[in-house]
């Protein structure tokens, strides 16, 4: 009986192995395909438009005559909104993660974790919409601005979107710290906060940095919400209280109207490459920190 089933098992195993291998290859293949396409379209811009003017150009006037495709205002727009979001999300997320991981009693812990996951489940367009009708007027009123469609509104909104990633990853990092470190510190007369500050946070630092990186990655690639609430003015921002336009929002807003094969069309792909490189580097950094966390 046993031996009669063996050839079957082996064949099945062979098939499963192949299927997994195939799935892996396919996904790599698609990634390469997408990258090649992005590169080909983006680089086509350089046939007619100098690279220097794209990278250092301070004006994004895609439909004036002659057009300028300077990426600087869009890049700075993205950076402003992202940095703002991170400055808001990291301390809040860290506080929440510490609270969930070590302070909250068991029942509350589960409720909070579920809430954070619920936040992650809200589609970004819905959050953007809610932001538009609630946050934007509030920002306008609180800061006495002529419009609430500003970088800061985008930052606040995106902070909410980055929060689930940051909180749940940081919470994992904190929970992964061996109990024995915590007990050791408490047994030496450390208070809970001393234990957190002197043992828990240093021990979890790699994982927490990875969480921040992935949070940034989440924020910088976000499109719909920023398109709706940051005001979409492709100017170099000097403060967070101005309308800005991010790279993602530019692509989303202009791809529909750009004539396929035109310089404008290629310029949007070139932005895509910039975005790709940034996200790639961020993920690389996150991977590095995660690797270090597992190494400890």
């Amino acid at each position: 009986m046993e031996s009669a089933r063996k050839p079957w098992n082996r064949a099945l195993e062979f098939l499963i192995e192949r299927a997994i291998f195939f799935a892996g290859i396919i996904s790599i293949f698609f990634v390469i395909l997408i990258f090649v396409f992005l590169l080909k379209e983006g680089v086509s811009l350089l046939k007619t438009y100098p690279l220097k003017d794209f990278i250092f150009g301070q004006k994004w006037y895609p439909i004036s005559e002659p057009p300028s495709f300077g990426v600087v205002p869009l890049l700075l727009g993205s950076l402003a909104v992202t940095m703002g979001a991170i400055v808001i999300a990291v301390p809040l997320g860290m506080g929440a993660a510490i609270y969930i991981a070590v302070v909250a009693p068991g029942w509350l812990k589960e409720i909070l974790k579920a809430t954070v996951e619920f936040l992650a489940a809200i589609p970004s367009i819905v959050l953007g919409f809610i932001g538009l009708v609630t946050l934007v007027p509030l920002v306008k009123q609180v800061f006495h601005l002529t419009t609430g469609l500003t970088a800061i509104s985008g930052s606040i909104m995106l902070a909410f979107m980055a929060m689930p990633t940051i909180v749940s990853m940081m919470e994992d990092a904190l929970t992964a710290v061996p109990r024995s470190y915590r007990e050791g510190a408490i047994a030496m007369g450390a208070t809970k906060w001393q234990m957190i500050w002197r043992v828990l946070l240093p021990a979890a630092s790699s994982g927490m940095l990875a969480a921040i990186m992935l949070g940034i990655g989440r924020v910088i690639g976000e499109t719909m919400a920023v398109l709706m609430i940051t005001g979409n003015a492709a100017r170099i921002p000097t403060s967070l209280f101005q309308p800005v336009r991010t790279m993602t929002a530019t692509i989303a807003a202009e791809m529909g109207e750009a004539v396929q094969g035109s310089d404008h069309y290629f310029a949007l792909f070139a932005i895509g490459i910039v975005l790709f490189i940034i996200t790639f580097l961020i993920n690389l950094a996150a991977g590095f920190f995660i690797g270090r966390a597992h190494h400890k």
């Binding site: 061996p178 024995s180 470190y181 007990e183 050791g184 510190a185 408490i186 047994a187 030496m188 007369g189 450390a190 208070t191 001393q194 002197r198 043992v199 240093p202 021990a203 400890k296």
Partner: protein
């Protein structure tokens, strides 16, 4: 009761929820002595040990009656300062658990928590404490190295050094050698004999030979009750109770 009793456990009961883990325990421990706590798995050895510096407080639903006096002061008294208690009564765990910090910072940890010493004074204390556990020679050039890279024995010594540095004078050791090899175990036992000159040590062990080698007094627990306590040579050669004899000679169960 004489002055050299440092730990005095009186009618001590501990419950984990409904489970009665320690029953009316009464015992006293002399200053600068080594007391071994022995008994079968689950008899409450760790529970008692963790009671002595109130580490059981961290567990939900723990209830305690009776009292433990450390240097004459009741530790379950209201308003008892736990920080002060745990500074005095240090704990060495079964698995060495140095913090993921440098060797130096591990030893200095308690000083950073509880004192405002100058840099030089901290360095001085660190050196003294590492010398006290015979680690100074090996590690004086590796003070910046991560403690987690040390061998198991070195880590366990380091965990003792960090207690010595904050001037703890009672060491609770819960099976401190069970994660170590025989040679390292022998070294730690030698260290315990040296430390006894200055410190009071309570050690939980499953190793009868170890208890016989290192301790002055032995307490045998069974099912949460203290069955018998007395000078180690007496407990091991002519115990008063048959249960004790059965356990020690391996005829248990």
């Amino acid at each position: 009761m004489t002055n050299d009793i440092v730990i005095d456990v009186r009618d001590y009961n501990l419950y984990y929820g409904d489970f009665h883990a320690l029953l009316d325990v009464n015992l006293s421990i002399k200053k600068k002595s080594v007391t071994a706590i022995i008994g079968p798995s689950g008899c409450g050895k760790s529970t008692l040990l963790r009671g002595l510096n109130r580490m059981n407080d961290l567990i939900d639903q723990v209830r305690v009656t009776g009292e433990i006096f450390i240097e004459g002061k009741p530790i379950y008294a209201e308003k008892r300062d736990l920080v002060e208690l745990r500074k005095k009564v240090g704990m060495v765990f079964q698995r060495p658990n140095p913090f993921p910090l440098s060797v130096y910072e591990n030893v200095a940890f308690g000083l950073r928590l509880h004192s405002h010493l100058s840099k030089e004074e901290v360095a001085q204390k660190v050196e003294e404490s590492l010398k006290a556990v015979a680690l100074w020679k090996e590690l004086k050039d590796k003070l910046k190295a991560p403690a987690l890279r040390l061998s198991g024995e070195q880590q366990q010594r380091l965990c003792i050094a960090r207690l010595a540095a904050m001037s703890a004078d009672i060491f609770l050791m819960d099976e401190p050698c069970s994660a170590l090899d025989p040679v390292a175990t022998q070294h730690i036992e030698e260290l315990i004999r040296v430390l006894k000159e200055d410190y009071t040590i309570v050690i939980v062990t499953h190793n009868m030979a170890q208890a016989a080698r290192v301790s002055d007094e032995t307490a045998y627990f069974y099912l949460g009750k203290l069955i018998e306590m007395g000078p180690t040579d007496q407990i091991f050669t002519r115990p008063a109770r048959k249960e004790t004899e059965d356990y020690i000679t391996g005829r248990f169960g």
